[in-house]
Symmetry: C2
Subunit: 250 residues, 2 copies
């Protein structure tokens, strides 16, 4: 009631000096709400009208704020269902890097090269710890993934790339450092998105790839860090070479 509101000003007492946009305050407000109530990924958030009233903003502003937070995977929205706390994944990194790779027609190969280099750095830098911390169960699953790659070899390739992705995720999993695993898979995703646009993604090297993966498993089985590092070198060298080759073609 009392919708009279003689003044033009809405209801808010705040002068709305707004050095920063209102939607940013809403973003911070929603973040604070999540932190204050110690919510976890998957937990429900108040519906849009409730957020509007609680934060003193219109639905447009609230929705724009929600869009920002969904882009960061801090909140997740299901149409006709509700708004929830997101998974806090690195999806934003993937989107951002992938676009960067697609954008620059000159140094896009540089982006790819950097990407692969970091992945190699993770695995080679952790060689000692990895060969000593991979348990029998994980080694067995690594072997199964190599077998899967052999079978999916000439096929659509979908199973092949999935097995490859899972292999490297599993490889760094025993470190207890989730960030390394997530960055590694994120970079892998970016590579898969960008590579087809650069003609560096050929299926001719599948046999060699499978062979080096097998050598990695063998090295881990024998806890041989040197052989492990050597196998990684032989695995990543061709990738680097392919990128350099494609770059030269331009």
């Amino acid at each position: 009631m009392a919708v009279e509101q003689g003044a033009v000003r809405p209801v808010a007492a705040a002068p709305r000096t707004a050095r920063q946009p209102l939607r940013q305050e809403v973003v911070d407000g929603i973040k604070s709400y999540i932190l204050r109530n110690q919510l976890r990924p998957g937990d429900p958030l108040p519906a849009e009208p409730a957020l509007c009233e609680a934060l003193g903003a219109s639905r447009s502003s609230v929705r724009e704020a929600i869009r920002i937070l969904t882009a960061l995977d801090i909140v997740e929205v299901r149409h006709g269902h509700g708004t929830y706390v997101g998974r806090l994944s690195l999806s934003a990194l993937v989107e951002s890097l992938a676009f960067r790779g697609l954008l620059s027609p000159d140094d896009d190969f540089q982006v790819m090269s950097d990407l692969v280099e970091v992945r190699e750095l993770f695995e080679r830098g952790m060689a000692e710890r990895l060969v000593n911390s991979l348990d029998a169960g994980r080694i067995e699953r690594l072997q199964l993934l190599v077998d899967a790659m052999r079978e999916a070899g000439g096929g659509a390739g979908h199973g092949f790339v999935d097995a490859d992705r899972t292999f490297h995720t599993l490889l760094v999993s025993p470190l207890g450092n989730d960030l390394i695993g997530q960055l590694s898979t994120a970079f892998w995703d970016v590579y898969v998105i960008v590579a087809p646009h650069l003609d560096v993604f050929t299926h001719e090297h599948e046999a060699a790839t499978i062979a080096t993966h097998q050598r990695i498993v063998d090295a881990v089985r024998e806890r041989d860090a040197a052989a492990f590092a050597a196998a990684l070198e032989d695995h990543y060298a061709p990738v680097r070479h392919r990128i350099a080759e494609a770059r030269a073609r331009r």
Copy 2:
């Protein structure tokens, strides 16, 4: 005029089957526009009305799409001025990781620990290449930053953290791998955001920090990879220790 629109359908001829939201199509449309015209960071984008007409969407949908792209730093908006191609920075990664660190009251220390570990991995994994590729000019600037840290020591601390940040960015710069540098800085930013909330950020260890930074510079000057790695170990060990200590306090 002609707002009659006998059918319920808007104006678009497209049936708008829309398994995915319209704003997502707008996001893809703007991305395509940037790629198609090979725009660079800072280049102007069409104004909102133009985008609405070009993509067949209302202002709301276009604006929400722009918010998503802004969060990823793919576009940048200046109020009352226009929208432009963004810098493609890793700001989204910083926001996302920082929130993850603030969110988990149990394993937030794990996030910090992972962060520092990756940074150390970058610098130690590249030790050989770094000591051999840092030129005299860069070494001189590294020394100046250490000096700056000494001066800013007891002060507000603002100059101290800035110098520290610049030091590590500069340290990995000669690799020619922008991604490593940007990730390293991004993690540093996350650390600075999250650390104060965990009581791991004390000023007591400034003297020791300065000393190890000096040792790093000395090692680089003498192209001594072993001493370089040792200095890094001594630099990061206390940080790990502080995090573990803070974790134990909980």
